[in-house]
């Protein structure tokens, strides 16, 4: 994933913040596809919030580094894994 990449949320995703935790709910097309809901922790919730179709990956990383006590290496690794998961469930493109 390149730092210049701009991520876009899938508009078919329904989200809710419950008790500081973001819940992601995909829109399924068949009862066979229904698997589970996705619940994001505090850092992941901030990343999800920051994905707005305008910010680049580099800008999101900078935001996370500023708001949380973490290192650039850790942000690189964790963000990469998280975005991969979001792409797998078609939450972002």
């Amino acid at each position: 994933m390149q730092n210049t990449t701009v991520l876009k949320k899938n508009p078919d995703m329904v989200t809710r913040v419950i008790d500081d935790e973001t819940i992601l709910l995909p829109i399924y097309k068949s009862s066979d596809d229904i698997s589970c809901i996705y619940s994001l922790n505090k850092v992941a919730s901030r990343v999800w919030e920051a994905i707005d179709g305008k910010r680049t990956v580099a800008q999101i990383k900078a935001k996370v580094l500023k708001e949380f006590d973490t290192t650039p290496e850790e942000v690189n690794k964790e963000l990469g894994m998280f975005v991969k998961e979001l792409k797998e469930i078609k939450a972002v493109k």
């Binding site: 329904v14 819940i23 709910l25 829109i27 399924y28 097309k29 068949s30 009862s31 619940s39």
Partner: protein, 315 residues
């Protein structure tokens, strides 16, 4: 166009549904023996639906007009929104389509092939059923009869789930609803196999509480308070037939699980939502309605104390 009268009304969770048709409802076999005619307007409905027949004056909020045809109308140019397959056989049970502002419900199930055209507010339905039984008049003319359960199972459930969600007035919860001796409503939510029917039996056998339903309970908010209502769709436990039209103000919500020891603990909103969500009936075919279901669920777990209840399964 023939002006059809309402021939049967149903009342489910305070919503009155009117059924119209130019064809009569089939009469039960016991009624047939007594009367000269083979048909009636009271219908040959399974016992579980009869308590929901409504004879009051309230006008229906939802009207379903039933037609019986030899060939179902073709639906072309519609977009498939959602398909439900049978959880065991994998065969299609029903699908929901959209064409313009109109929704189309189709069931390909053998002996239950039907197509329903539903308006955008889910309160007007034109239902087309295939004939199951035909009768001949003395002159050789044939005509058809139909049954209330042709509509109730599964179509009416899908219709009401959407109608409640669209208007933000109620939720279907996979749960047991109990009204205790003080009139307080208790809801026990759980997946299939979590022990809902067993719990319902225990309440019925060992207490004077009223079991509203052991599988699908409708939760509605009125005057700032949540109420539980029985529904015609139930599980294995049938012994509460006379009571399930009742409702009760909801006081506690339990999430039930089989475990190695009996215990209950209060859970916070975040955990409560994780337990509640699998027991809901999400309208995946409509993002707005799905959002309403989530909002109502959030209100429910905020307003009503929630507990996780573990219990030991004993044969």
């Amino acid at each position: 166009m023939i002006d059809m009268k309402i021939i049967q009304k149903l009342k489910i969770a305070d919503v009155v549904i009117g059924l119209k048709s130019r064809f009569p409802l089939e009469k039960s076999s016991s009624q047939k023996r007594k009367a000269g005619s083979s048909f009636t307007h009271s219908g040959n409905a399974p016992e579980r639906f009869r308590n929901f027949f409504y004879h009051g004056k309230k006008e229906p909020e939802i009207t379903i007009t039933v037609d019986i045809v030899d060939k179902l109308p073709r639906v072309s140019g519609a977009k498939v929104l959602f398909i439900t397959n049978h959880f065991q056989s994998g065969d299609e049970s029903w699908r929901l389509l959209k064409r313009g502002n109109e929704y189309v419900y189709k069931s390909p199930v053998k002996n239950k092939k039907q197509v329903m055209f539903v308006n955008s507010t889910f309160n007007r339905v034109k239902a087309y059923l295939m004939p199951k039984k035909k009768y001949f008049l003395p002159k050789g003319e044939r005509f058809y009869v139909w049954r209330v359960d042709d509509i109730i199972y599964d179509f009416l459930q899908v219709l009401l789930i959407h109608y409640f969600a669209l208007n933000k007035i109620g939720l279907f919860v996979h749960s047991i609803g109990v009204k205790d001796i003080d009139g307080r409503g208790l809801l026990f939510a759980g997946k299939s196999g979590a022990g809902k029917s067993t719990t319902a039996r225990l309440w019925y056998k060992h207490t004077k509480a009223v079991v509203l339903n052991d599988d699908r309970v409708i939760v509605r908010k009125k005057g700032g308070k949540f109420f539980i209502h029985g529904s015609p769709w139930h599980g294995d436990f049938n012994d509460y037939l006379d009571s399930r039209i009742e409702s009760a103000p909801l006081k506690k919500l339990f999430f039930i699980y089989h475990a190695l020891e009996n215990r209950a603990r209060k859970v916070r909103q975040r955990e409560a939502f994780q337990h509640l969500y699998p027991s809901l009936f999400p309208t995946f075919w409509d993002k707005g309605c799905l959002g309403n279901i989530l909002s109502m669920s959030e209100q429910l777990i905020t307003d009503v104390p929630c507990f996780r209840m573990d219990f030991v399964k004993k044969d």
